[in-house]
């Protein structure tokens, strides 16, 4: 295990100490931060490792939210619902991946974007099952107090983050990770050398989707009410990308710190610039892409190089 990955696990460990420092609202922010980190880390598997620009994160987030929501409504307890959602999305994404990952570049990006639209409308129309445009109400998981509830969901999301990080580290150290790196660099060559690109890509797509769906499910249980436009929101696809770009594409630690930093910025901007917050987000994205295309990580390495000159 590389030093970087170890650092990632240590960082996540530190985050677990949050309840000692803050009340219910801080826990709420912490839960969202963990959720963002899960989305960004998962996206990194298909976007950073494999090099396929996927915009499908929102599709699986929404899918997970509704799958868990429907199961909870039928009386299935939380843990089995999340588990079932995870498995279901792994399979679904694997299958979809086999089909969609035949496309490359722009076409893949658009196809993944369309997936969000299609799933949203499917949910919108299945009114009997999902409530359609009227939204889905999810029963409270427990009647316990506010702090207990907030702490429970914080740790649940944190646990999911840990699992995602372990998955990502596992992938990066395994043959799958190596294969994905080959695919990213030159897919045709990898194919010719005998790599089963379809299998690897589908596996990557599946893995990138399952934890996102689980996070979506947990999110649904947390907020008690979801509707299609909320959970199938394109921003859930774009934000992980911005976070990954901020922190450093490809590096799990970078991606996670990007996620946390992004959330902090979002909170500050939302509080202070109520009317123009999305414009400010836009400016942030533009600045980032024009001046810091390799993320924060590159900032440190540039400084490192500068230091080296003086040695």
């Amino acid at each position: 295990m590389t030093r970087v990955n170890l650092a990632l696990l240590v960082f996540i460990g530190c985050v677990a100490a949050l309840p000692l420092f803050g009340g219910a609202y801080a826990l709420r922010l912490g839960t969202i931060a963990c959720m963002y980190a899960i989305l960004a880390l998962s996206w990194n598997v298909v976007g950073g490792f494999a090099g396929y620009p996927s915009f499908a994160t929102a599709a699986f987030f929404g899918f997970g939210a509704y799958a868990t929501g429907v199961l909870l409504n039928k009386g299935v307890p939380l843990a089995p619902s999340i588990l079932a959602t995870l498995v279901a999305s792994l399979l679904l994404a694997g299958l979809l991946g086999a089909v969609l990952l035949r496309l490359r570049g722009h076409y893949f990006a658009i196809a993944s974007l369309s997936l969000v639209e299609v799933l949203r409308e499917l949910v919108n129309n299945a009114t009997d099952l999902t409530g359609g445009g009227m939204g889905l109400n999810i029963p409270l998981a427990s009647g316990s107090g506010i702090l207990a509830d907030a702490t429970f969901f914080f740790y649940a999301m944190w646990g999911l983050l840990l699992a995602t990080a372990l998955m990502v580290i596992g992938v990066s150290m395994s043959k799958l990770g190596f294969g994905l790196a080959c695919i990213r660099q030159n897919e045709t060559a990898s194919d010719m050398v005998g790599l089963n690109t379809t299998l690897y890509k589908s596996a990557a797509f599946g893995l990138s989707a399952c934890f996102v769906s689980a996070a979506g499910g947990l999110y649904a249980a947390w907020v008690h009410y979801i509707d299609p436009s909320d959970v199938f929101d394109i921003l859930y696809s774009v934000k992980p990308i911005v976070m990954a770009l901020m922190g450093g594409l490809g590096s799990p630690l970078g991606v996670v710190s990007g996620a946390f930093l992004y959330l902090a910025l979002e909170e500050v901007v939302w509080r202070n610039y109520i009317q123009i917050h999305s414009g400010v987000l836009g400016v942030l994205i533009v600045m980032l892409l024009l001046f810091l295309p390799h993320g924060l990580i590159s900032l440190r390495s540039r400084m490192f190089w500068r230091k080296a000159k003086h040695v």
Binding site: G47, P53, V99, L100, R102, L103, G105, H106, Y107, A109, I110, A111, L113, S114, L115, E117, V118, E121, L122, N124, N125, V238, I241, V242, L245, Q275, I276, H277, S278, G279, L281, G282, V283, L284, I285, V286, L289, L290, P293
Partner: protein, 288 residues
């Protein structure tokens, strides 16, 4: 004879869709950039038409003449100053960059114009004409006429004017064009400017028919996407074909499956085309 009504509706709508998509198709085909600001440009054009009509009672068809150069300059500058820096970057970067720019533009519009829906109601209203039980509103016909005229103008530019031929050359083979002495950087800017101008003009025409609000920009963008994929990138005939196909699918779908399934249908069709025939119906490497 409501079947005929549905078909005529689709025909008219298809031309409007083509008009929305043509600028988007040009930019995508030539610069290989998916311009997510396109929808907001359309809405901005619509506001221009609405504003000028409210203030000076200038009807939208005259606004076209004002909108075209205005948006061309806007697009040209945007490309020259910002987008050109990331023109060779991967899809991810350009897509996210235009997404960010769109957030800025959209937010600015909401800030200045508010999210309320405005309507450009001509007085006196144009009414509709009726032929054998088929009713067609005149304002749509007028908008369709201008939309076709716009696509015709683009066609002529690309065929006849020197700069148009240069654009086509860059589209066909960038490196060869450079070797032939084409200033690619300025061609990129010109193409983007043209795309923006077309979007602005499309917006002016849309103001005649649809309500105007910054919230509709993503709807226009979504249509443009689907039309481009269905019809084929970078060609005028492709945009027309894609527009007609989309309008037809939507109209027939709304009739037989109900309006709630229309969006699902169009995006599912998009995915099918991407997988089975990514170059679209009439996609070709260059312009005709």
């Amino acid at each position: 004879m409501w079947v005929a009504q549905v078909l005529i509706n689709a025909l008219v709508l298809g031309c409007l869709y083509a008009c929305i998509a043509i600028g988007f198709s040009l930019v995508w085909g030539v610069l290989n950039v998916i311009n997510l600001i396109h929808g907001s440009f359309i809405v901005l054009g619509a506001y221009l038409a609405w504003g000028l009509y409210q203030a000076l009672a200038i009807p939208p068809w005259y606004v076209l003449v004002i909108a075209a150069p205005l948006f061309f300059i806007l697009g040209y500058l945007l490309q020259w100053l910002l987008l050109n820096r990331v023109i060779t970057a991967p899809v991810l970067v350009t897509l996210t960059l235009t997404f960010g720019l769109d957030l800025i533009l959209n937010n600015a519009m909401i800030y200045y114009f508010k999210a309320d829906y405005r309507k450009l109601t001509l007085s006196p209203p144009m009414g509709s004409i009726s032929l054998f039980d088929v009713v067609v509103p005149v304002d749509r016909l007028v908008a369709t006429g201008f939309a076709l005229a716009l696509t015709g103008v683009l066609y002529l530019i690309l065929r006849r004017l020197r700069v148009g031929r240069a654009i086509v050359a860059v589209r066909l083979d960038r490196d060869a064009a450079v070797l032939m002495g084409v200033d690619v950087k300025s061609i990129y800017a010109t193409a983007f400017g043209l795309g923006a101008a077309l979007a602005g003009c499309a917006g002016v025409l849309m103001a005649l028919i649809f309500p105007i609000s910054p919230l509709t920009s993503s709807t226009f963008l979504g249509k443009a996407f689907v039309v481009c994929v269905l019809g084929g990138l970078g060609s005028v005939s492709g945009a027309l074909a894609g527009g007609l196909l989309l309008a037809l699918v939507e109209s027939v779908g709304a009739t037989f499956l109900g309006p709630s399934h229309v969006t699902t249908l169009s995006f599912a069709l998009l995915i099918v085309f991407l997988i089975a025939r990514p170059q679209g119906l009439l996609g070709r490497k260059g312009f005709e």
